[in-house]
Symmetry: C2
Subunit: 141 residues, 2 copies
DNA sequence: ACATATGTAACCATTTTGGATACATATAAC
DNA sequence: GTTATATGTATCCAAAATGGTTACATATGT
């Protein structure tokens, strides 16, 4: 998969650490080690999903739109991965073959089962959990 | 994701339908609607994973190496997806940032939880299940 | 006004993906 | 043993995805 989900999660965790202080795309980019445009593109998607907001102008930047404990990794996944599925099928199998005729429908069902299991697990973790894990790790390490 | 997992599953289900009769890469390709080389590349991976075998020469082709009920979608997933993970992280975050320093380790753990949930679900379906679903669907439809 | 920061478009290089051709090797059939 | 068949693999290619870069119109705080 691409790294957008990971970077989006990084962004939100960073914002949680900011504790209400707006963060510019440049500041976030320096934490992620990428460029501000990439961050702004993701922030736009996160804002559309209701996970972040942005303040224009001097002293502005991105903020969480909700409490970290109310943002799950599933929320992030849904905000970023527009396709909403890790599996892809091969288009247009042979309709004259017994297998080709039905494989797509049958396989899609099983793929969706796996996708649901993945998403259910993602729902069990919040940005607050990640922030706590990081705080503990930095204190210990 | 790419379509290799779906095509590999199609191949194995096709072989299950062949009931012991060898299938050439060309025949399989016509069912999948792709080219024989792509099929052979996947068959090589499936054979390395112990899921299929191949017979050279006239009348040859690919065969299942195990009973369809003994091949799970997790077996296919592991045979095909060498990376074994749907999630990717962004490399080299800023070590001087509290979040950048620890996000990778922490997030990787949660990603692996989700990956495990996905794989556990894949393990519940076998090629025999898919073949049965297809047979039922073709009879009904 | 002026500096700052977003949102978005445009362009680019790299990688991934799947398709196409080619061919050495191995096997079956005769 | 010769011939037809089929694999396994290398090579090349075009299209798409991915993330980086520049640019700039718009909005906001000072």
């Amino acid at each position: 998969m691409n790294t957008r989900f990971a970077v989006a999660t990084h962004i939100l965790t960073f914002l949680a650490y900011q504790a209400g202080e707006p963060a510019t795309s440049e500041l976030i980019a320096s934490s992620v080690n990428t460029n501000p445009t990439f961050i702004r593109r993701l922030l736009t998607q996160l804002a559309k999903a209701g996970l972040s907001t942005s303040q224009l102008g001097a002293g502005g930047g991105a903020l969480l739109a909700r409490a970290p404990r109310d943002i799950s990794l599933l929320d992030v996944y849904r905000a970023i991965d527009e396709e909403q599925q890790v599996f892809a099928i091969h288009e247009a199998p042979n309709p004259n073959c017994p297998v080709g005729r039905s494989i797509d429908v049958v396989l899609k069902g099983r793929m969706m089962d796996a996708e649901r299991a993945l998403q259910a697990q993602l729902a069990t973790t919040t940005i607050a959990d990640l922030a706590a894990d990081i705080a503990k790790r930095n204190k210990a390490g």
